[in-house]
Subunit: 392 residues, 2 copies
């Protein structure tokens, strides 16, 4: 209500509900007041068969969700000895003191069933109130996710009439509208396709329901890959850097980077992947020209003749870093991130990317004026895509 | 409702309302159905004097928000010639075709007043329905923000009985509970203080209302700074890297980095700041030992005797990168990000950070087991904080 926190729980829960074919019809938010919470619970129960309530299960005095719900449906709050034992055990495990307030967390509405919380003190609660089944969950996402996965997913699944399956195909290399255009008219059978931009990527979402959902999605995916397969780098949780990491790992080749305008962003992405040291030698952030010549081995004459943002410089950076870092592949980026530094010939957004292997060098160039940080992200994706194409 | 998109608009609007002393009491979400939208509008109007409705103002057939609201309150939809002209002008400006569907966007409920949208086609609408003033706004955040700032902020401000002011003090260096403890009992007058963790930072939020709000916050800030000033690196939108950049810029000193376990993350943060090339020479991501010895100048004997994750190695990295990059300050990080690579003596999470200036070297070490990416973020903040302390 104060605008300090964005509610991500509603969307997370809705997504899980749809996966099992349950339609979400309403959500609402209120402040920590007995009457308003009670009202919201009654309203929800009048609109749906299942209600999820998050937040307000903590140990402090403004955590009154269960009490409010019980009151709204004229139920008693009942003390559960086993919940109280679990809370005390939880505190002992972390060597912390259990305060008297925590005892409040052992009271739940009559008829309710506690749902074990393995990562926090407050258990979730499942209880029938009015005509609806209520699930009360902690507001802390980490705790909510655990209880939901452990106790609620199986429950939802057991009641799914026709579960939904979904798959995201993650793409880079074309503007959003172009995917739409290239896939227009494709017969995907019962599979629904939609697009989502999460810059710099475009995600294609495939959804199907029923017993043949997985096969239907697989067939749709094959058709899509025939049209735009080269732009699809991964599925679901697979990032571009993970896809590149996998390719490097299986090829046995070692990579080194020379980054100028991306300022370490590519290196940062790649080292987010566990085990990166197996295939990543390291790199140089050659932000000043002295580092380009002094460490990476770009010839001063090249800088003088073509400038730092040039094909020649990018190629010498790629070749140089490959050699100096004892790598199989050298990848180099040089450009103008802005907001200053642009000229008429080389405006802000100009980039040269080069990739060097033993005896061979590839190069791409383009210009993309964007905000500084978005520019770095976009160029990093272009560079990793060049590497991915090379490895495939 | 589908869980595909997290609603950030509600929190954004709520934050603005509080700023002007208006209390937010309820929010709700429904799908794109005439009856459900109408219901939600009536419910909102029965609970508040002002209602914000976002989304569903677009040109496609499922954009029915205005129609639903008008129907719920038995109002006619009225065609506005001037809106239609604006829409056509907007399309011409971008050289695009205006489709017939766009004409639907020129209809608004009777008595309504359009609110100019400078970044999209659909105008906002202000209209009294029932006892409440309704503001209808596009769901696209960029468009919503513009209309809100242009047309609604002044309106809210004009009706504010006692406007709120707020300030965030951004801190790093202590766990959340310690700030609370150190500031306990501090008399901040009418200023409300609260804490927010946005890992790896802790933000202290100060809120005051009325005519003396700004002075009240200033006095509270002074008291807080007396207690924990060394942990406060910035206010409101100022990031840690921006604070460090400012210090480097005014000192005239040049920085170089040697990053091992952070894998380029520190470099990436610093180069997000416009004009970084003025004070950032660049750096080396010395992910393999060959780069530590070959480029940065760590002695092989040091690696052999102490290992790569050691005080000796960090110090040689800091001294080495300072020299090789022709910088005034060398900052170096070496550690074990995990999940593998830990030993009994040096478990996952062990870090050494060193800072070298002309003739002097400082060093800190600690162990923090976290997920790989969180670890990189935390270590980057520790390194930048060390640098910040040095520069102040």
């Amino acid at each position: 209500m104060s605008g300090n926190v964005v509610d991500t729980n509603s969307a997370w829960i809705a997504d899980k509900c749809w996966m099992f074919g349950h339609k979400v019809v309403w959500h609402g938010g209120v402040g920590d007041y007995l009457e308003e919470i009670g009202d919201a619970c009654r309203l929800a129960a009048s609109r749906a068969d299942v209600v999820f309530v998050t937040g307000g299960l903590g140990a402090t005095l403004d955590d009154i969700t269960l009490e409010a719900a019980a009151k709204a449906f004229k139920k008693q709050m009942v003390f559960h000895e086993d919940i109280w034992r679990d809370i005390q055990t939880f505190f002992r495990k972390f060597g912390r003191e259990c305060s008297g307030n925590n005892k409040r967390q052992a009271y739940i509405p009559e008829g309710g069933k506690p749902l074990t919380n393995r990562v926090g003190t407050a258990p979730g609660v499942q209880v029938k109130l009015g005509h609806a089944i209520f699930f009360f969950l902690p507001g802390v996402p980490r705790e909510l996710y655990q209880i939901f996965r452990d106790s609620i997913m199986p429950w939802l699944k057991g009641r799914a009439e026709a579960a939904y399956e979904q798959k995201f195909l993650r793409c880079f290399g074309l503007p959003e509208a172009s995917y739409d255009e290239k896939l227009k008219g494709l017969d995907l059978g019962p599979v629904r396709m939609s697009f989502r931009v999460t810059f710099p990527e475009v995600k294609i979402k495939l959804v199907a329901r029923g017993k043949t959902a997985l096969q239907d999605i697989k067939r749709a995916e094959e058709k899509i890959r025939k049209k735009i397969g080269r732009y699809i780098f991964g599925a679901d949780d697979e990032t571009l850097e993970m896809a590149v990491a996998e390719l490097l790992k299986s090829s046995g080749l070692k990579l080194a980077l020379a980054e100028s305008c991306t300022g370490g962003h590519i290196s940062n992405l790649l080292t987010n992947v566990p085990g990166a040291s197996e295939w990543f030698r390291g790199g140089v952030v050659s932000y000043s020209n002295d580092l380009k010549t002094g460490i990476v081995g770009v010839r001063p004459a090249t800088l003088k003749k073509h400038g730092a943002v040039s094909k020649a410089c990018a190629e010498e950076m790629a070749k140089g870093i490959r050699k100096v870092a004892l790598a199989d592949i050298g990848l180099a980026v040089t450009g103008i991130a802005g907001p200053t530094g642009g000229t008429k010939e080389k405006p802000v957004g100009t980039v040269h990317i080069a990739l060097a292997t033993k005896g061979k060098t590839g190069h791409i160039t383009f210009s993309q004026e964007r905000g500084r940080i978005a520019f770095k992200q976009f160029v990093a994706y272009e560079a990793l895509s060049l590497l991915r194409r090379h490895l495939t």
